[in-house]
Structures are given as C-alpha cells and as structure tokens.
C-alpha cells in the first residue's frame, strides 16, 4: 500500500504543474511584496531599503488598528452568517422529498452569479438614508427608527459585511450541499433505524462527517473577510472618513492614493500573516485523523 500511495513519479506528475504555475504567478509576487515591505518605495522609482521602519510606523498608525479591527468584524460576520444560513439551507434542500428543491437551489445561488457591482449598487439603494428600502419599511410599520446605515461610522462596517455575507452565502450553500451529498446514504439510514430525529441525525452524523467541508468553508470565509476590499471600494470608499478601512483598503490607499508602495506592502504582509495564523488555528481546532469508516 505504501508503495502504491508513495509512487514518486505519480506524485511529481500530479503536483508539479500546479506548483510550478502557482509559484511563478502567485507566490513569487507575494515574496516580492514581503521584500518590498522593507523599502521606502513609490512603486516606480528605485526605492531605499529601510529594514522594518514600515512595520514600526504601521504599529503606530491608528488607521492600521482600525483596519485590523474592521477585518475581524467583517470576518466574524460573514463566517457566522454564511456558514450558519448556508448549513440550514443546504440541509433543507438536500432532503430529496422537498418540493421545489431544484428551484430553491437555483435561487439561492443567483446573488453569486451577479457581479459584485450590481449587488453593491442594490444595497446602496436599500441602505439609502432618504429613499432606502429599510427606512421605508420602518416608516410603514410606524417606527421612527430611521438610520443612516452606511453614514454612521459605527454601523457602516456591519452593513457592508452583511452585503458580502448575503451575496456569497451561495458559495457556502453549494459547497455544503456537495458535502452533504458526499455523506453515504447508509449512515443516515442507520440513524433513521435508530429512531433519531432529522435534527439529531444532522448534528450527530452529517456535521461530524463533514468536518473537512466545514474546515475549508471556515478558511474561505475568514480569509475572505480579512481580505475584504471590493465591497468597501464600491460602497463607501473606506468612509465615512476612515471607518470602513480594512488592511487591503489601507494597502490600496497607501500604494495608489498616497504613493507609499512599501508601506502598503507592509500592511499586505501583515494581512498574509494574519490569514496564515487564522488558517493554522482552524486546522488545529478541527484536527482530525484521516477518516476511517
């Protein structure tokens, strides 16, 4: 068996194409980012090597802490809602007897198919303080709870995170659905015979069996949240003021608006490290030996 699974030629054949392309196109630029984070550099001219000065500056910059905090808020919100709602929807739709499940499945995925620009424009209208849908609904039910959802420095980041959570829930739904489908039917059958309710079966059998699925959903959601950029770029440009900055946005601002590419690279380097730590923690928490049935 070891010989079978340790076939050197096969291993090389399988991994080399991906590793090669990835190393050249993705990893090499990342290395350059780390390298450039130790430069005072505008992105075009020569630049000067300044060791860790960019990092020292970063840790004294209140904007950096705002950005890190917002990234964490964003990550937590999208992780909880996407995986939470995604699981509920996936388990419900996986039930073969459910009427209209095909239609539901297609519907849940539609926001993902649309471009992020469309979805952000829609939510800008929904959140709008004057003509927005949410405020109109409050008005209709007679509540005097009008909010400037995106203009208050406290609620803006939550409001934006929700848009992302809502749009990309479909991804998690589809991944979890594929995960549910991969759990062999006989286990559910056995649970049924034991007289377990559906909920019990899901909690005791599906979810543990889907540990690997949940693992990559978590990594996907958390790193996606820490990386968030497009939503704030389109919806608030980081505003009001600096209240919806994330590390990526800080990098973008430093590199392109301020012309401090080296400083921006330092912010990006921290981001990569942050994501790496998050991933390692997830892997530790859901550490499981290779499943044997």
């Amino acid at each position: 068996m070891n010989k079978f699974l340790g076939n050197k030629t096969a291993i090389l054949l399988f991994i080399l194409p991906a590793l090669l392309l990835y190393t050249v196109m993705v990893f090499y630029p990342i290395v350059q980012t780390f390298f450039r984070s130790m430069y005072e550099w505008d992105g075009l001219s020569e630049g000067t090597f300044i060791w860790f000065d960019n990092y020292t500056r970063l840790f004294q910059d209140s904007l950096f802490f705002t950005s890190v905090k917002n990234g964490l808020i964003f990550a937590v919100i999208i992780t909880v809602t996407q995986i939470g709602i995604g699981s509920i929807l996936a388990f419900a739709v996986a039930d073969a007897k459910f009427k209209g499940r095909k239609l539901l499945r297609i519907s849940f995925f539609i926001p993902v198919v649309l471009s992020i620009t469309v979805v952000c424009q829609l939510w800008l209208s929904i959140y709008n303080g004057e003509y927005g849908l949410i405020n109109k609904i409050f008005e209709m039910i007679g509540l005097e709870y009008k909010q400037d959802w995106l203009s208050s420095s406290k609620s803006a980041i939550v409001a934006i995170a929700f848009v992302n959570a809502w749009q990309y829930m479909g991804y998690h739904f589809a991944l979890l659905l594929a995960g549910v489908k991969s759990v062999p039917e006989q286990y559910m059958e056995a649970a049924r015979i034991d007289g377990a309710t559906k909920l019990q079966a899901i909690l005791k059998i599906n979810i543990p069996m889907m540990a690997e699925t949940y693992k990559f959903c978590l990594v996907f959601a958390i790193t996606g949240g820490l990386n968030a950029f497009a939503n704030m770029y389109i919806m608030t440009s980081g505003g009001p003021g600096t209240s919806t900055y994330t590390l990526t946005y800080l990098m973008y601002r430093s590199a392109f608006r301020v012309g401090e590419f080296g400083y921006g690279s330092a912010a990006a380097a921290i981001l990569v490290i942050e994501c790496l730590i998050a991933t390692l923690i997830i892997n530790r928490l859901i550490a499981r030996e290779r499943i044997s049935y």
Partner: protein
C-alpha cells in the same frame, strides 16, 4: 420516510423561510433588469425598487453602441472555459497527491498553495503585470488565462483536498489489490467520487473568471481581447455616471451566466446524484 414527513408537518416555518429567502435571492436579478431600463433619476430618487415607468431600451442601444459586445462576449467565454479547464485539472491533480498520496512534504505543500488565498490581488498587481510582460503573455489570451488559472488553484485545491480527505482509505486499498495503477485509481475511482465537488467548482471558477475585473482592466489593453466586465469603463466618468446604460451593460454581462447556470444546473444535479450513487 414518514419521520421526515412528520418533521415537515410539525415545522411549517422552514419552507416559508426557504421560499422567502429564495425571493430575497432572486430579487437582485429582477432589480438589475429594472435598473437597466431606467434613467438616473428613477434609479436614485423617484423609483429605486419598482419596475421602470417607461422602458428605456435606449440604454441597451447605448451600451451596445459603446463597445463590441459579441467580441467581448466571446473573449469572456473563451477565457472562462480555458480557466475552468486548466484550474480544475491542475488543482484536482495536486490536491489528490496532497491529500491521499504519501510523501514527506504533503502538508507543507498544501499550506503553501493555500497562501494564494490570503493575498488580495491589488497588492501584487504590479509584480504580476511585470511577469505577464516578461513571459511574453502581454496582449494574448494567455495574459488573462494563465494568471486566472494560477489564482484559482489555491481555492480549488483547498476544496478538492477537503473532499479527497473524506474518502475512506479502503477505496484505494481495494483498487491496489485489484492491481489497478495509481493513475487508473485516480481517474476511475477517485474522480467520480468527488464529482459533486468537481461540478460545484466548475461553476465557481467559471463565475470567478467571468466576473473578474481588477486583473482584466490592467492586463488587457487590446480591444480585440477585452472581456465583458471591461465594458463598464465606458460609463463611469470622473463625476457622473450613466447608471442606466451601465445597468444595461451589467445585464448584458450577467444574464448569459444566469441562463447558463439555470440550464446547466440540471446537469450539475445529475452529476451530484451519479456521484453519490457510486459511493452507495
């Protein structure tokens, strides 16, 4: 099956929630089409959410006249199909080796590939553009296809890795005893098992590539190679934007994918059932 029926009856809230959520999910599609038939005033002030009062088809005429929609469309399709093919192939091979085969650095290699998900594309745009130039890819389809494949490998590998890890080891053991080669085991036994994941990732990567804007806007300068999202550039001014025509351009870009998805999802559904049947 009766216990499920019971559950259904005892819990009517669930279907209601599901259908409400479905409506909430489909609304943006409808909204986008409405939007594409309105003018700025209607979009922002008088009627942001309802159907348009006049159908302004001139938005489509405007959008269509601005750029060569069929050419952009074909480019998008070509790039997306090539990206899907390349990324799926490379990722599935890599993740199989990382998840199932026995070699020393498999864990490290897996984490190494994951790092690609941690870096926002804006950060590495300039080094990437320089690479594209140095590899003589500039102004070819490869300028998009190659980076798109590279950037989709991380996510796809992570998903495939997860699925491969969930497969019991007995699968390979029996194949080994039957005298099948590792390649045959991979193609004839492992791949069919992860078909649900394959089908899902085909759609994901297709969409990623189809909607990608950040790289396309910088890496493609030649008119004959531009993809659909770049059409939006023609409507965004420094101060004002022709939102209606932009809506039309977005609809032109998105509607085909929605249609393809609706038509194709039947196939995906089949793939899913076949996949679990093999398992059972």
């Amino acid at each position: 099956m009766t216990w499920m029926m019971k559950l259904r009856k005892s819990n009517p809230g669930m279907p209601i929630f599901l259908w409400l959520y479905a409506i909430l999910s489909v609304y943006p599609l409808v909204w986008m089409i409405f939007y594409s038939l309105k003018n700025n005033d209607e979009i922002f002030v008088t009627n942001p959410f309802g159907p348009p009062m006049h159908l302004r088809f001139e938005n489509y005429v405007e959008a269509w006249s601005k750029y060569n929609v069929p050419v952009y469309f074909m480019n998008s399709l070509l790039v997306a199909v090539a990206t899907v093919a390349g990324a799926i192939l490379l990722a599935v091979m890599f993740s199989y080796a990382a998840a199932r085969l026995r070699w020393r650095f498999s864990k490290i290699a897996h984490t190494y590939i994951l790092v690609g998900m941690f870096i926002p594309i804006q950060v590495i745009m300039i080094p990437l553009a320089i690479l594209v130039r140095d590899l003589n890819l500039a102004n070819t389809y490869g300028a998009l296809i190659i980076p798109y494949i590279a950037f989709n490998i991380s996510f796809a590998s992570m998903v495939f890795y997860g699925f491969f890890r969930s497969i019991p080891i007995e699968m390979e053991e029996s194949a080994c005893i039957d005298g099948a080669s590792i390649y045959r085991t991979f193609f004839s036994i492992m791949l069919p098992i992860i078909k649900p994941a394959l089908a899902t990732m085909v759609i994901f990567i297709f969409l990623n590539s189809w909607n990608e804007f950040t790289m396309a806007v910088i890496l493609i300068t030649k008119e004959s190679l531009k993809t659909l999202p770049l059409g939006l550039l023609f409507f965004q001014g420094q101060f004002t934007t022709d939102w209606g025509a932009m809506g039309a351009a977005m609809t032109i870009a998105s509607l085909p994918t929605v249609l393809i998805y609706i038509l194709f999802s039947e196939q995906v559904e089949n793939a899913l059932t076949v996949g679990s049947a093999v398992k059972g």
